[in-house]
Symmetry: C2
Subunit: 722 residues, 2 copies
């Protein structure tokens, strides 16, 4: 083992340590008055009861799948015997992060409200620290899990030199599947919950009865606030945990594969490089959190600038440290690989800026939607859809540009140097995600600020406090654009790395199968296994005129569409049921006047149950489709499926996220105009916003995970298909 | 030349002859009173002024492109010298069909109104005959163009045996590009025109002022009726002309390529088989028109049944004749190929049925949307989007099932028998489109019936007449579902055939380039050119891990999205401008009360100009993208582009067409309920319908053409890229 490796567990523990420090800092904050506390507790209870229900369902799924893997491993020997444990551990840590992050967020929100009573800066500081707990828990546990597994497998697995690291890393990919499985349920369940509650409470409370946002008389308001936590904190956390883990392990596997023929130490260096870059990112993230300092008199503009400065600073730190690290490692192409890190970070920022262009009300697209609102809700919808669709242009160009550039850098400009080139793409993905600790902090900050505002409203504090929390919320919205850019960009690049890892997994599967079930001489399979990726393509006849590949391609695109359709339907259905319940409660005049407390629990129960039931079908699709296609159409079919799912998935994810964001801000833009809130244009814009809710917070982000879980399942079941 | 070939020009002339007969029959019909005639003339003038403007723009584009091809052919020798003439002829005939079809349709509409005053059956008969003129003109000119070119090139081109037919057919593909170029402008321009007029006139006339549909006081009503003709007649005609031509020539090219090594006569048989099947289809279509007989007392249910019977009967006739034909030709695999024809027709019908399921108000999806309308316009939009997305499931499965089955049949179950298998897919596409004469007749029937209703309303006839024309219109809506199924299914299968033809074009380009510009010995290139498709894939390193292919893939998907976004935006913008104009005119109380005739011409001018300007960017994208990708990323990039564009294009086309249809029918379903027309649910459903307008009649159908024009441009510029 190279001594530098120990940086990885060290960074992981540092990450967890600072998470603890920030947690304690947040906890020290003042609680506020009794009402504020009790609202906080209600929301916390709602969130926990949701998580309990969610984890029950997920536990069943995990038990079933882990059982299958164990059988495949021990009885049929088409899986590594480690698979089922790795799978469980990936899911466990992802779930743990979600739980702890949400616990922190719900605890922080009332304290942020209280701090905001003093000043904007105080509130900001606590909210950001609360978000940073989530960010550093995710990076900490992820790297801890990775490094411990790497050590265990390195100790236990024995194989020829060159093959050993490949076997270790591909085995570790199965724990990526654990993270993916947990993530898809968390994103879907949380996404359906939060948007159904949001839409229903707006629909009845705001549109039908003209209440303000977060009015305490609205029985769905608690559910709406719970939704922010289960969707935007736990769901987002599980999503990025999975991207983070997936990109690191997949790139490690590519590093091992691309350097099978060189000496063992060099192969090891390439294999652990992704983990080391992630470790540097943790250091940079922690520094970033401390760089973001606010002064008492700071206004919104200043806060946004401070936050962006922090993100940029930590990015620069990672790039500089990457140059130092690769140089120290003594890798020949250290400059190229460090530039790949830079490319990855740049792509994330460019996508963020593009997202910002299409979704901020300072720019023509959102203004155009706001103009359309003067005509009719129909033109608002048409305008928003077109903005979302057109916005794919820059994001996709940024991603393919980044892909092409990092490939070119890492392959020394030789198109046929496929393994090295793909490794470069993987490094770019890892680079982009390296500062996750900080970007996730700024993301998780959003729902905390949002909840703080809800708390201020419900506990009837000074309107001034609400105004301040609104500023905090608005700051969150602008940084959320960058967060989304990172989520989408990293999903696409990680998907590429996973596509390449699939081939590596096949090698191993062939190797294993050749020796045990396929009754072919082991040597022949070792030979095949050591062949290049191109040879593999020929071996499996994976070319674009292969009918199975073409069929897989169409099925992959269709999978994205049907998945999106099911999610949309789920949100719509649950929202409608919940809306009926709110209407029913409002028939009681005592509830309507505020004299009687509304039955929030009933709303929470309806939403939780609805979300849990609705998430099962789309999530299962993501797991079953690759298995079915693999069994019917073989390796070529899987490659087609992945190609179709990735390409359609990427554009749909960008389209839906940006359309949703644009509608949201068009509505806010109209509100900010004089008399805007009561105009017909506002009514039209509210409809756009409600359609946009599931676009941007349920379907769009869930597609990111769909892309990766399809790849993960393909990888893990490669043995079966081969 | 094989004597059976002469069937093709014979069938073409027969088709044109019957088109003339039906035209004269329609013309003989009574004209109705002065008002009816004058409305008919207004609409006809509006349509012609649109077409004139449209053809001016298109002429410029054609002149430019034909000039480029001529230079590429005569100066640089990277194109056949025939290309530019073939290109022009394809565009010319497509444009001619659109012109004649629209002339007939606008002439027929007032006669249908008049006939309907007598009885439903009379009106139906004339409307269907009017549609049949369009159907038979398209099939007639298309086959005439194909057969004449085939004879000319067969006479002039000299080459080694085996190569000659391949050179002929790939040269003919360039006239497919002429048809595609004309089609994309016709579909886009017509689609934007018709839906902008529709939305604006509904928005102001129906929603804001509470007028009935087609109220003569509404200044946009004439433009709306013109739109039916330029969009649904001329646009649809150009679309299907292009599919028809494209599928026949591409399949011929595949037939020539797949049988290069066999004796010349057999190769000729496979090459002309697609043309012969199309000829049989013409016979079957004419018989079908005569089978559809109505009696005086027929009600709507009976009319639908009669129309469906006609379609099914002509399909059966084609299949039977195909068996006879292939047997007579003495082709060894005559049974398999005839079964491919059957598969193609079956896929078309299955997609039609699936479309019907998701868009007819007799079924749960539309009922669900109607239920959502009780809650809010937002839930209507969400529900409709989810129905559209979910509907891709069956359509895509039907298409990939058909692809797989026809491939399997034609390749004798051998996956590696790629050229034969793809030829089978082509034959399925040709089979599906063979009865185009009839399916297009039932399609073009729709706008004629729609216009007849408008005429009845505007000329203030008995409400009973309007009720009858409404029944005619409703019949058109149910058969339109099947028509859309054929359009989408054939686009997907034709796209596959074009993908394969691309490889063939590359061979020829290499051959030509090897002798003239690439300075490589000709013999080496002949060798390369004669290699199998798999060899080609290896030669160009077209595998799915090729970075250029991956980049092309993402760009292809993005192209579909941006194209859709631009179309949506165009419809929204033109509709908004037009809506402002209508509002302006309604400020005049004399117009509002009906005392003064509104200024229809102003509305027509605004819509025409708006549509013409807006169509240029998206149409150009379809032409420029493949050229740019080809030049930057080479052959692998193009293959990726096509894969991404086809897979995302197919699912987006199905999604948008079906979501639009479902919203439309949900609105109609609510209207049919008691008190439905004045309910809040109806208002919400109208918004869904307006969003659905560009979905189903502008963007969805245009994507079909985008898929093919991207392939066509790739094929025609293959020489440049190679």
């Amino acid at each position: 083992m190279i001594s530098l490796f120990w940086l990885v567990p060290l960074a992981a523990l540092t990450s967890l340590l600072f998470a603890l420090i920030f947690y304690l800092q947040v906890k020290e904050g003042e609680d506020g008055n009794q009402k504020m506390k009790s609202i906080g507790i209600d929301i916390s209870h709602g969130a926990m009861s949701y998580v309990k229900q969610q984890y029950k369902v997920v536990l069943l799924v995990f038990a079933f799948l882990a059982g299958l893997f164990a059988i495949a491993g021990y009885v049929y020997h088409i899986q590594s015997g480690w698979t089922w444990i790795a799978f469980l551990s990936g899911g466990f840590f992802s779930g743990l992060c979600g739980y702890l992050g949400m616990k922190t967020a719900t605890m922080a929100a009332p304290k942020v409200t209280q701090a905001t009573r003093k000043s904007l800066g105080h509130g900001f500081q606590i909210a950001l620290r609360g978000g940073a707990v989530m960010g550093l828990i995710v990076t900490g546990f992820a790297l801890l899990d990775i490094s411990v597994w790497f050590l265990i497998l390195n100790y236990f697995i024995e194989s020829e030199p060159g093959m050993k690291l490949l076997i270790i890393t591909t085995t570790m990919l199965t724990f990526g599947m654990g993270a993916s499985t947990q993530a898809i349920f968390a994103r879907l369940g949380g996404g359906i919950y939060t948007k159904a509650a949001d839409i229903a409470s707006d629909l009845i409370g705001k549109v039908e009865f003209g209440f303000r946002e977060d009015d305490a008389r609205n029985p769905a308001v608690i559910a709406d606030n719970v939704g922010d936590n289960v969707g935007d904190v736990a769901g987002m956390g599980a999503d990025l945990y999975e991207s983070y883990v997936g990109s690191i392990i997949a790139t490690s596997a590519l590093g091992a594969a691309a350097n099978m023929m060189v000496n063992g130490q060099l192969q090891m260096k390439y294999t652990i490089l992704p983990m080391l870059i992630a470790s540097l990112g943790i250091v940079a993230s922690i520094i970033g959190v401390y760089i973001i300092k606010v002064l008492d008199g700071d206004n919104m503009k200043k806060l946004v600038r401070t936050m962006n400065n922090g993100i940029v600073a930590s990015s620069i730190i990672v790039v500089i440290l990457s140059f130092l690290l690769t140089y120290t490692l003594g890798i020949a192409n250290w400059i190229s690989l460090s530039l790949c890190v830079l490319v990855g970070i740049a792509v994330g920022i460019i996508i963020g800026e593009a997202t910002n262009y299409f979704t901020s009300h300072a720019n023509p697209p959102v203004r155009h939607i706001a103009e359309s609102a003067k005509v009719s809700p129909a033109t608002v919808i048409i305008a928003g859809l077109s903005v979302g669709m057109n916005s794919t242009f820059f994001s996709v160009l940024a991603i393919v540009g980044g892909m092409g550039l990092s490939y070119w850098l890492a392959s020394d400009g030789q198109a046929l140097n496929i393994p090295q080139g793909l490794y470069g793409i993987g490094i770019a993905a890892v680079g982009m995600l390296s500062t996750l600790g900080l970007t996730l902090a700024t993301d998780a900050y959003g729902p905390i600020a949002d909840n703080a505002g809800g708390n201020a409203e419900m506990s009837g504090l000074d309107p001034e406090v609400r105004e301040r929390t609104d500023v905090l919320d608005a700051v969150g919205n602008t940084t959320a654009a960058i967060g989304k850019g990172f989520a989408i960009g990293s999903a696409a690049l990680t998907a590429m790395a996973l596509l390449a890892s699939y081939i590596e997994e096949l090698r191993i599967a062939l190797l294993r199968g050749g020796q045990t079930i396929m009754n072919l001489p082991g040597e022949q399979f070792v030979q095949t296994a050591q062949a290049s990726i191109i040879e593999f393509m020929k071996y499996y006849n994976v070319n674009i005129m292969n009918i199975n590949l073409l069929i897989g391609l169409f099925v992959g695109s269709m999978l994205v569409m049907v998945f999106s359709g099911l999610c949309m339907k789920a949100v719509g259905n649950v929202a409608e049921t919940l809306a009926m319940e709110i209407r029913r409660q409002f028939k009681n005049p005592l509830v309507l006047s505020g004299a009687e407390k509304p039955d929030s629990n009933q709303c929470i129960t309806i939403t939780t149950r609805g979300a849990q039931i609705a998430m099962i079908l789309p999530a299962s699709l993501g797991i079953i489709a690759p298995l079915a296609v693999g069994l019917i159409l073989g390796v070529a079919g899987i490659m087609g499926l992945l190609a179709g799912c990735f390409s359609t998935g990427l554009v749909m994810a960008v389209f839906m996220a940006n359309a949703g964001g644009a509608w949201d801000n068009a509505k806010k833009y109209i509100e900010s105009q004089k008399g805007g809130k009561n105009s017909l244009a506002h009514k039209a814009a509210v409809i756009g916003d409600m359609v946009g809710d599931p676009f941007k917070d349920t379907v769009g982000p869930s597609i990111n995970i769909l892309m990766k879980i399809v790849a993960m399942v393909s990888i893990v079941t490669a043995g079966l298909v081969a």
